[in-house]
């Protein structure tokens, strides 16, 4: 905050005060308040780039201000601001008294005389200059210095309050929040564009910037600031606190109004808006260096680089001074950035100049006869109607994302039910209760499918991927899956009037499509070569291929039927006309056996026995196989499926599937189609290289994708692939028992809703009591009633000078007033702290939640290291005998708890 419109209280005798027209005083007062408020809102403050700046000398700075309060230097000699020294003679000149600026210092020393004092007064110089004038000069000086002290105190309050919000020496809150978001977020594309720019930091060493910083130090050193509080120095730092390019207009967008209120040279606000060419030159040189500094990796669109100084580089600058810079590439690819100055602790405001800089005289206005001039500066013109977005604040990398710089009428407002409008009397942060889209996936969790978390996209490769083109048609058989063509397309055709519900047939054919999806074009697993005859040396292999390929497809098909309750509500064995015990298990075995026999690949092994006929019968005629029971079993399955299917399952193909709206199909069919389109394009496919920004979210996306791919594409054993996620993956799944080796499920406690913090008025009163006692110089635990201001304090510090002691006794009321004022100031700070504690506790809960998430994640990751993998090899054969499975189930019975056997 710049406190630049503190109007001087020039009121020595009659002259200066007469120029203040009382009729407009009230309006001006309102104007002043408004202007100050505008100044507070604009917050032209420190950029938090130099967050690690040395925090040295805050107390010394405050001490220097306090010595000024008592008109002293650190060494104890009298000190008066240069502006006041020049202003007082100008005020006296209107009363016909001539003194020099140095005479204001002499007025505070009783042993010195006002050597240059002259007057045209009728009382004569001997009376005016000797004795009469000195106390009045002292009074005028003290009054002006008190106003300036008030400015400094207000600046301290404002800077202290703003420091943790803006970042800087005492808090990196904006940086921390940004860092946490950046580390945790998922997504590198559209998400960033929606939520803001990406920011990184580059540290500059002493060797990097020595030339530039030394130039700045030389200019801002003794040459520009002969004293610690020289207005030119303070003004220059504030002037370039938003950046040198902002001041020169290079960086200002055309839509922005000029950010600086009118201030002609010689006005009281001259130093506030005075441009300093030498400082600008040094800063522009520094900016040129920053602008051309090579960056690795190069800046991407929408990325910002903050340049920070290391400790050695910072040491090149004067105490409490900072130099900052940032560079960015805008979202449309334009290079931008700026460099500027700032304070570590912004304790000194830009105070009124009072008199023209470097020119004799202090009158502001039209000096012609009959016109009004004002000593010490005119009231400022009405403030420009600057919106926050037109200020330098909104050009800063962090601050421009704040609510002051946020456009209320943004595009997103159309999604919200509320209409957001700025309110001059309140801070409107806004709410949005509009509906956001929800996404339900079918093929499992589909991790991060709606987030662009990977860099780049994977092009379609017909050799490793496929596109399934499923349609309904008129066939002489139920369904057909063709080999993958050169374009990677696999055509699947379902007979419109197939026997049984078309849904189950689609599931069957899509398993075949999946078997061929990742193979090279022309491949058709298992069924593209028939057995040439009894002596075909590949007969066994071809039989095995058919049994496995068809087994997978029929298994998925019969599992779906079982899930739908075709075989009874609990999947139990149901009776049939063939006398075969039908359930999901016997279903897929019968259908597989039938299918392979029909295609002359021979029979497939079964895990159950036909009650009549020879189980080893190899009859070519499927109608007579097992005494005709195979054909009967097939018909039974079709009949049962037709009869027992849920009412929601249609019979015909066209009623089941609409090519233009595949997502409207049976969820299992839709999931399979979606899954097929992802095959070969997954993160964890062989030879797949995936790059992404290293964030927790993106790492979780990669991890989840691989786990999901494991669940969806696993091949635990031939013929045992699940059709959809969560399907059983092994024949013996039901006989498995949970063992300790299978791990535990991690639970995270549900958080309670955030509530308002407890309001403890008694605690606040106690804190104020303590502050009250300590302000009055008593121990913190003393009873408050004993902490009142004691008139004897003055006596308590007796002076050996009796006259001075008497004066102190007379002025002890002033001492009490001073303490009252201190308590008022302290109460403000105390209230700020108490208020902060209230919302701090709310924010703290959010932090606590994040802490719990990190703790849980840590526990989870720790358990990863404790997973025990099986040392039992999976059986490579799809069909195992009853005896094998029985033995397997026996092996993993409860007694064998040390291993989960099959993974």
């Amino acid at each position: 905050m710049k406190l630049y419109n503190l109007t001087p209280s020039a009121s020595f005798s009659e002259p200066a005060a007469t120029h203040a027209e009382s009729g407009v005083a009230q309006r001006r007062s309102r104007m002043k308040k408004r202007f100050v408020a505008t100044g507070i809102l604009l917050l032209p403050l420190l950029l938090p780039v130099m967050a690690n700046a040395a925090n040295k000398g805050l107390y010394d700075q405050m001490r220097a201000i306090s010595t000024r309060e008592f008109l002293q230097t650190q060494s104890g000699s009298t000190a008066i601001d240069t502006e006041v020294q020049r202003f007082v003679p100008a005020v006296l000149a209107r009363a016909g008294i001539t003194i020099t600026p140095e005479d204001t210092l002499r007025a505070f020393n009783p042993s010195e005389t006002l050597t240059a004092c002259q007057t045209t007064s009728a009382f004569g110089a001997s009376f005016i200059c000797n004795g009469f004038l000195q106390p009045r000069i002292k009074s005028l000086v003290e009054r002006e210095m008190r106003v300036r002290l008030l400015g400094r105190d207000l600046q301290i309050l404002a800077s202290g309050y703003e420091a943790p919000v803006l970042g800087g020496s005492t808090s990196n809150f904006p940086v921390q929040a940004q860092a946490i978001v950046r580390i945790w977020r998922a997504g590198t594309g559209s998400i960033i564009a929606a939520s803001g720019s990406s920011i990184r930091a580059v540290t500059l060493t002493r060797a990097d910037v020595q030339t530039y910083l030394q130039a700045i130090t030389q200019i801002l050193g003794p040459g520009l600031r002969p004293g610690d509080y020289e207005a030119a120095y303070t003004g220059a730092v504030w002037q370039y606190s938003y950046g040198v390019r902002f001041v020169t207009g290079d960086l200002r967008p055309a839509r922005w109004a000029t950010p600086f209120p009118e201030a002609s040279p010689g006005s009281e606000r001259e130093q506030l808006n005075k441009r300093t060419p030498v400082v600008e030159g040094a800063l522009l040189s520094f900016w040129e260096y920053v602008k051309t500094k090579p960056l690795t990796p190069p800046l991407r669109n929408g990325e910002i680089v903050l340049f920070t100084l290391d400790k050695d580089a910072k040491a090149l600058l004067p105490k409490n001074l900072n130099v900052w810079a940032f560079r960015e590439k805008t979202k449309d690819g334009q290079d931008s950035g700026d460099a500027g100055l700032g304070f570590d602790f912004a304790t000194e405001p830009v105070l009124p100049s009072l008199c023209k800089d470097g020119v004799a005289g202090c009158d502001i206005g039209n000096p012609a006869v009959g016109n009004i001039t004002t000593l010490g500066g005119a009231f400022p013109p009405p403030p420009l109607e600057l919106t926050a977005t037109g200020s330098g604040l909104c050009g800063m990398p962090y601050q421009r994302a704040g609510y002051l710089c946020r456009a209320f009428e943004a595009a997103n407002v159309t999604k919200c039910n509320e209409t957001l409008r700025p309110d001059s009397s309140a801070v409107v942060l806004g709410t949005c209760t509009g509906k956001t889209g929800t996404r339900a996936t079918l093929a499992g969790p589909d991790a991060c499918s709606d987030i662009g978390w990977k860099n780049g996209t994977i092009p379609f490769d017909p050799n490793t991927q496929c596109k399934v083109d499923m349609s309904c048609g008129n066939l002489t058989f139920s369904g057909m899956t063709e080999p993958k063509d050169a374009n990677g397309v696999i055509k699947v055709t379902i007979d419109e009037t197939t026997e049984g519900p078309a849904t189950y047939l689609m599931i069957h054919e899509l398993v075949h499509a999946r078997q061929n999806c990742t193979a090279v074009p022309g491949t058709f697993v298992a069924l593209n070569q028939s057995i040439t005859g009894p002596n075909d040396p590949m007969a066994a292999m071809k039989n095995d291929n058919c049994c496995r390929a068809e087994g997978e497809a029929y298994r998925a098909q019969c599992q779906a039927m079982s899930d739908d309750g075709v075989f009874g509500p609990n999947g139990e064995i149901v009776g049939s006309t063939s006398g075969l015990p039908l359930n999901a298990e016997s279903c897929w075995q019968i259908l597989t056996d039938y299918s392979c026999r029909e295609r002359t690949f021979g029979s497939c092994a079964n895990t159950f026995s036909y009650t009549s006929g020879n189980p080893q019968e190899q009859a070519a005629n499927v109608a007579s196989a097992y005494g005709g029971k195979l054909k009967q079993g097939l018909n039974d399955i079709i009949s049962i499926a037709t009869t027992n299917k849920p009412a929601s399952i249609p019979m015909t193909c066209s009623a089941t599937y609409d090519k233009t709206k595949p997502e409207k199909s049976d969820p299992r069919v839709a999931a399979a189609l979606r899954e097929l389109n992802l095959l070969g394009r997954k993160v964890c496919d062989p030879n797949r290289e995936t790059t992404y920004e290293n964030t927790i979210g993106n790492n979780m996306c990669a991890l989840s994708s691989c786990v999901e791919q494991t669940l969806e594409d696993h091949r635990l054993a031939p013929g045992e692939a699940g059709f959809t996620t969560q399907d059983p993956i092994a024949l013996d799944q039901a006989c498995r028992v949970r063992t300790a080796a299978q791990g535990l499920i991690e639970f995270m406690a549900q958080d309670e809703p955030i509530a308002l913090p407890v309001y403890r008025p008694a605690l606040m009163v106690k804190q104020i009591d303590t502050a009250f006692c300590q302000t009055n110089g008593y121990p913190p635990a003393l009873l408050p009633i004993a902490c009142g201001v004691s008139a004897q304090n003055t006596v308590g510090f007796p002076s050996l000078n009796l006259v001075e002691q008497a004066g102190k006794l007379l002025n002890q009321g002033e001492s009490g007033n001073e303490r009252t004022r201190k308590i008022e100031e302290l109460s403000t700070a105390l209230a700020s702290r108490i208020g902060s504690e209230l919302y701090n506790s709310v924010l703290q809960r959010g932090v606590d939640r994040l802490t719990r998430v990190i703790t849980s994640a840590s526990t989870l990751l720790d358990t990863f290291t404790q997973v025990k993998f099986s040392n039992v090899e999976c059986s490579p054969k799809a069909f195992e005998s009853d005896a094998q499975i029985a033995a397997y189930c026996r092996d993993i019975a409860p007694a064998s708890s040390s291993s989960s056997a099959r993974p």
């Binding site: 306090s66 420091a163 008593y778 902060s836």
Partner: protein, 249 residues
């Protein structure tokens, strides 16, 4: 009649006053140092409701140059604690087993003050510690102002009483100016510092946690990066039909 008996003649009254001043002077001459020492020896007496007295721990009386040293010590110590508090806020220690990250300089200072003799201060007590430090400083200056004159006269090596008194008066005048200066400036300086620090650190607990969360998040990110890298092998680990190694591209 009674008036004339109770009111001494003017010359006698002057003599009486002179006698009283002389007695007070002699008492101060011979008891000043002892009084000061007595207070300092018991500087921690009455721990909570301590009287306004100096502290031998913080501002020991080491002779004539004590005052200048006290002033320098107070400024350095206060500045150090303020700087350390700000530095702690900027760079917290995340691995502490306690909640508060209190700078050592604050603990050291507080331990020398009566209310914190038996316990360490919390960071939120820093303003109280600094104000109590200031109070003891002011009391030490006040005490020096009261008793140093007698001590100096008594401790002077000069044989002439007149010279001793004259030298002590000059020193007293110079020291009094320093004391008045300090009593005027020290308190408003600390108030301004606390106003700034109190506001600037109001989000300190949150900021400290955030800082530690940033570091923990970075650790978590790196571990998850390793887990993600490892997970790339999962599908092939589960697929018995293909090799674990990448086929040739």
């Amino acid at each position: 009649m009674s008036k004339s008996k109770t009111k001494a003649p003017a010359p006698k009254r002057v003599l009486l006053y002179a006698l009283l001043i002389f007695i007070a002077f002699v008492l101060a001459l011979f008891t000043g140092a002892e009084l000061t020492g007595q207070v300092n020896k018991n500087n921690l007496r009455g721990a909570v409701l301590a009287a306004c007295s100096g502290s031998n721990l913080l501002f020991p009386n080491t002779g004539a140059a004590s005052l200048e040293r006290w002033i320098g010590d107070y400024r350095r110590e206060t500045s150090l604690v303020v700087d350390d508090i700000l530095a702690t806020a900027e760079n917290p220690t995340c691995t502490l087993e306690r909640e508060d990250d209190v700078p050592q300089s604050l603990i050291t200072l507080a331990r020398k003050l009566a209310p914190w003799q038996k316990k360490n201060p919390t960071l939120s007590e820093a303003p109280s510690v600094l104000l109590e430090h200031l109070r003891v400083y002011e009391c030490s200056l006040s005490e020096w102002n009261r008793f140093s004159f007698g001590s100096q006269v008594a401790g002077s090596s000069s044989s002439s009483v007149g010279t001793r008194i004259d030298t002590s008066f000059h020193r007293q005048a110079r020291e009094q100016k320093l004391i008045q200066n300090e009593l005027s400036i020290a308190r408003p300086s600390l108030h301004r510092t606390l106003s700034y620090v109190g506001s600037a650190l109001r989000l300190h607990p949150l900021s400290q946690n955030m800082d530690c969360l940033v570091r923990a998040s970075a650790d978590l990110r790196n571990v998850l990066g390793l887990a993600a890298e490892t997970s790339m092998c999962l599908p092939r680990t589960w697929d018995v039909r293909q090799t674990l190694q990448n086929p040739a591209p």
